[in-house]
């Protein structure tokens, strides 16, 4: 089996250049690649375009990259949890492109699946439709949306093996499986890395073909945004 293992996060992101387009998995702070974000901070790479459903919070996730002014443009569906983001956006330091969440997910899926464009009803008749082709199918209007790809897709999984196969846990799956398919180079960080053959092939969510580099991350903080409990 082809071995995809790379030693650590620093090595995994070592060749990411200034100006690269990145996909970063996660929904809110759930399922984000914490180790690679820390390595990108350390490396100080700049002018990044980041495709991620959210933009982290002020002191965690992509928010940390924003704080260090490493991000030129965010492509997201919802960015409401980040004050530094707001400040940079209003001052014109940061570009942002907002995309309906399902359209974002499907554009990434299409990028990985070799589908250059598709039609969706989401956003028809709204400002999202500006400049896009619309077409009627069976009496309903749809917008044409195009695929999204990235120079590097950075995903987080629960378990992975040396062949790059991945299994996600809970709702930490979210955008990670599609992003894993849409990177020219896909980097996976996992909580537990095992030798090929130890994961049940029936249970694999992302087959190893999509993954180019894999490493076992450490010290996962897994911060919770809205801790809600019942008594």
């Amino acid at each position: 089996m082809i071995n995809k293992v790379i030693e650590n996060a620093d090595n995994a992101v070592a060749d990411i250049p200034d100006g690269a387009t990145l996909m970063l998995g996660g929904f809110g702070l759930c399922g984000i690649p914490e180790n690679c974000i820390a390595a990108l901070l350390k490396k100080g790479v700049r002018n990044l375009t980041c495709i991620s459903n959210n933009a982290g919070v002020d002191d965690f996730g992509i928010g940390l990259l924003l704080k260090q002014r490493q991000v030129k443009k965010m492509i997201s569906s919802y960015v409401g949890e980040n004050e530094e983001f707001e400040r940079q956006l209003l001052s014109g330091e940061l570009e942002v492109e907002l995309i309906p969440q399902g359209t974002l997910a499907e554009r990434i899926r299409a990028g990985g699946a070799g589908i250059p464009a598709f039609f969706t009803p989401a956003g028809y008749g709204t400002e999202v439709a500006q400049g896009k082709e619309s077409r009627e199918f069976h009496g309903k209007m749809y917008l044409m949306e195009t695929w999204l790809k990235a120079d590097f897709a950075i995903v987080k999984a629960w378990k992975g093996d040396t062949a790059g196969n991945l299994i996600y846990k809970g709702t930490a799956r979210n955008f990670n499986p599609m992003m894993a398919t849409a990177g020219k180079i896909t980097i996976a960080e996992v909580e537990e890395l095992v030798p090929a053959g130890q994961l049940d092939p029936n249970a694999i969510h992302t087959p190893g073909v999509f993954v180019h580099r894999i490493f076992q991350g450490q010290h996962y903080e897994k911060r919770i945004e809205q801790r809600t409990v019942r008594r």
Partner: protein, 218 residues
């Protein structure tokens, strides 16, 4: 007049056996507390969970298990997990029967505006545009009038649109209204102590009143 719990309770009466339902953030989330006994509905969270359970006990909190409002949740027997692409395939594909969400404005032809206020920080539409473009049935939970007294049930929305001709029913602090396919808000029920005249005053769009309008039973 209803408070937000009253609105949620009234909306819960629209839930039917076997429905798969997506609840938006805010008042719609409260609907989960009032699901009628004996009715089986499955709640979807668009980040990738079908079968949202109650909030966890302190010792059950799992950072890898959250709802679309980023709150920690639990699963139920029969719950399932999936990617966000598959989640929106469920939504766009018409497999989710009912979407309940909040709104800033609704127009008399069913347009909804709920994602952006010009001049204020734009947070993003999240999944709202996908949901309103796709669900066969959309119920809106909202305030009938703004804090300054302006109607939010309008002839035409003034704020940027989230989706066109999609809202089917509205529950406000004052009333239950159906949005008719040919246009207009048909008054279905009044909140306790609210008169038809009060509702007329609070509705800018075309209000349709036929016969006696009953009081809500909540």
């Amino acid at each position: 007049m209803l408070d937000k719990h009253g609105i949620a309770k009234r909306i819960s009466k629209e839930l039917k056996e076997g429905m798969y339902v997506n609840l938006g953030i805010g008042i719609p989330t409260l609907v989960a507390n009032y699901i009628p006994e004996g009715i089986n509905v499955v709640l979807q969270s668009e980040n990738g969970l079908l079968g949202i359970g109650p909030f966890p006990l302190e010792n059950e909190v799992d950072p890898d298990l959250i709802n679309a409002g980023k709150q920690t949740v639990t699963m139920l027997p029969g719950s399932s997990l999936f990617s966000s692409a598959e989640s929106f395939a469920m939504i766009r594909g018409g497999h989710i029967h009912l979407t309940i969400l909040g709104a800033m404005e609704v127009s008399e032809n069913g347009d909804i505006a709920n994602w952006k206020i010009p001049g204020k920080m734009v947070k993003g539409m999240g999944g709202a545009m996908d949901l309103v473009a796709s669900a066969e049935n959309i119920i809106v939970a909202m305030q009938h009038v703004s804090k300054s007294g302006a109607s939010k049930l309008l002839k035409q929305c003034t704020l940027p649109i989230t989706g066109l001709r999609c809202v089917k029913k509205i529950v406000t602090e004052l009333a239950v209204l159906d949005v008719l396919p040919e246009g207009g808000f048909k008054l279905v029920e009044r909140a306790l102590g609210v008169s038809v005249e009060d509702i007329k005053q609070a509705t800018e769009g075309k209000l349709i009143i036929e016969g006696e309008v009953p009081e809500m039973q909540v």
